[in-house]
């Protein structure tokens, strides 16, 4: 029914509650609804270590408009942002509530010396932490394995960063919109090779929200709804050193669940616009393959051919993605759902994709490289 988001920045003055309020208010206003129309609220926010605030669901409650309402916080790591609207969907689809407000917030700036350190706690305390593990290690290990298995080069992967940061120049909330070249990415400082500074999304503060309504209630709210036609999620084993990292099998499961629900048989032909999770440039390629939108190892070629450009045959991350708009973890995933909403309503302004967009997919990914959430939406 509606969508809203705050600016994404490295450091915002607003507290998490204030950011949640601003995103929720915008989403409600865009649907011409007020808080009294909201029957239930789902909140998403990622690790508590960023804020040093425990029970973040309760901490953010008042800003998310959840006080004195059925209210739940859901959490699936980086996959949270797309999972929040999925949880909101089952609130409504179950028949329990006519409406549900989905709000995601992240404020990564309070923690020092760096938010990466706050992730140390995700690693096994006996087998991994004693090795001095940094968060980026696991993504570099996955990226390297992906490159090896399918013969993908760093330059091919860098094209994603170039595309997404350029797309973000047209996003009013973007933190890192920029015109850069593959060469800039290649020459940027190595962090954990093959991951370089420009391959990676930034830490950010921000919030995003969407409003959902039942079919019956929607008729009274708008003439121009966007329908959630499919949802899916799946998680692989936490024993990540035992997995084949080159292909996200769990995402294939999640995508197939969502496509089955939405009646999609050939995703590559039927999906018009995609917001695939891109905290790193290689992840967009990895995820397009898991989403069955490219064959294994072929997403780089689609990128080179321009298929995934905003004016291409299958635009991917027209928003600018996490690489361009920013990565306040939970809010970043919900930003993708906002973008699909705007694209399908034809409200994306300068970011509007060229082709007539009727079916969109938003996807997020998280935990120990093991979880994905997928949402399929269609214009009314």
């Amino acid at each position: 029914m509606g969508a809203g988001m705050t600016l994404f920045r490295r450091r915002l003055l607003e507290t998490g509650k204030e950011l949640s309020f601003e995103a929720a208010r915008q989403a409600l206003e865009s649907a011409n609804l007020s808080a009294k129309d909201v029957r239930s609220v789902v909140m998403g926010t990622a690790p508590e270590a960023f804020d040093g605030v425990h029970m973040k669901g309760e901490y953010l409650l008042d800003g998310a408009g959840g006080a004195n309402k059925p209210y739940t916080r859901v959490y699936v790591g980086g996959g949270t942002g797309v999972f929040v609207p999925i949880a909101a969907w089952w609130h409504v689809a179950s028949g329990l509530f006519d409406t549900c407000l989905a709000v995601s917030e992240e404020k990564m700036s309070p923690v020092h010396p760096h938010p990466q350190y706050a992730f140390n706690g995700i690693f096994d305390y006996a087998l991994e932490r004693p090795l001095g593990v940094n968060l980026v290690w696991i993504f570099a290990l996955e990226m390297r394995r992906y490159m090896h298995k399918y013969g993908i080069t760093e330059e091919e992967i860098a094209q994603v960063a170039v595309k997404n940061k350029a797309n973000a120049l047209d996003h009013p909330c973007a933190q890192l919109g920029a015109r850069i070249t593959v060469d800039d990415v290649m020459k940027s400082e190595p962090m954990v090779w093959p991951v370089k500074r420009l391959d990676i999304s930034p830490p950010s503060d921000g919030a995003a929200a969407v409003v959902l309504a039942s079919e019956e209630a929607a008729k009274k709210i708008t003439k121009d709804p966007v329908w959630i036609d499919g949802v899916g999620w799946s998680i692989d084993s936490t024993y990540w050193t035992d997995r084949e990292l080159a292909y996200p099998q769990y995402l294939e499961s999640a995508a197939k669940m969502a496509y089955r629900m939405a009646g999609i048989r050939n995703a590559r032909k039927e999906v018009d616009v995609v917001e695939a999770y891109d905290p790193f440039d290689y992840k967009e390629l990895h995820h397009l393959e898991g989403l069955q939108l490219a064959r294994k190892g072929e997403a780089a070629r689609l990128t080179t051919q321009g298929v995934t450009q905003r004016n291409g045959e299958m635009p991917v991350n027209p928003s600018g993605g996490l690489l361009g708009v920013g990565n306040p973890i939970a809010a970043a995933g919900t930003m993708k759902v906002c973008e699909i909403f705007w694209q399908l309503r034809g409200e994306a302004g300068r970011r509007q994709v060229k082709r007539d967009a009727r079916t969109g997919v938003a996807q997020a990914w998280g935990d120990l490289m093991q979880f994905s959430s997928v949402l399929v939406a269609r214009s009314g």
Binding site: R11, P130, V133, N134, A140, L141, W193, S237, E347
Partner: protein, 174 residues
């Protein structure tokens, strides 16, 4: 109705203003201390590392030899059946070169980190560790490596009892 930039609220604090103390901030630091027990499977695994050996658990239901060892098989959802020693050699499944410490500060010298598939464990079952004795240009996926153990007196039942992995010499077998 297009989304207008003025709709999207948020007040950016620049690093300069933030550092210059333009905003009220409240520093806070919590120092918790934890003592984790390592459970049945990993306790035995660590005890064996102290002996200079790597041990796995076998699930007879799926036939897998599991590293890291666990008392249950997450696929079959049954208890695993027996302890089996595996080798301290393996194959590099993937690697990366880290310029970052755990807290995101820059390391003076980069280190090579790798997932090593352990010989004797089921195909594709490995562990995370540090790789030394190989230059950035020589390292490759599929490289055969061996554990380099700390001297016995310095082992304390930790993953770091293996100091690092390094390449097997041509023709070397353990």
């Amino acid at each position: 109705m297009e989304m207008e930039s003025k709709e999207h609220t948020g007040v950016e604090m620049t690093s300069e203003d933030f550092r210059a103390g333009k905003y009220f901030v409240f520093p806070y630091s919590a120092r918790f201390r934890y003592s984790w027990d390592t459970g049945e499977a990993v306790s035995r695994f660590l005890a064996e590392l102290k002996n200079g050996k790597i041990i796995a658990r076998k699930c007879k239901s799926c036939g897998r030899t599991l590293i890291p060892p666990r008392m249950f098989c997450e696929r079959d959802f049954v208890p695993t059946d027996e302890w089996v020693y595996v080798k301290d050699t393996g194959t590099v499944k993937t690697y990366s070169i880290s310029y970052l410490a755990a807290d995101a500060s820059r390391l003076r010298e980069p280190i090579v980190v790798a997932v090593v598939d352990i010989d004797g464990a089921s195909d594709g079952m490995g562990m995370l560790h540090i790789l030394k004795g190989v230059s950035k240009d020589q390292i490759r996926i599929g490289m055969r490596v061996k554990a380099v153990w700390k001297p016995k007196a310095k082992r304390r039942g930790a993953i770091t009892d293996i100091d690092h992995f390094e390449p097997l010499r041509r023709g070397e077998v353990r």
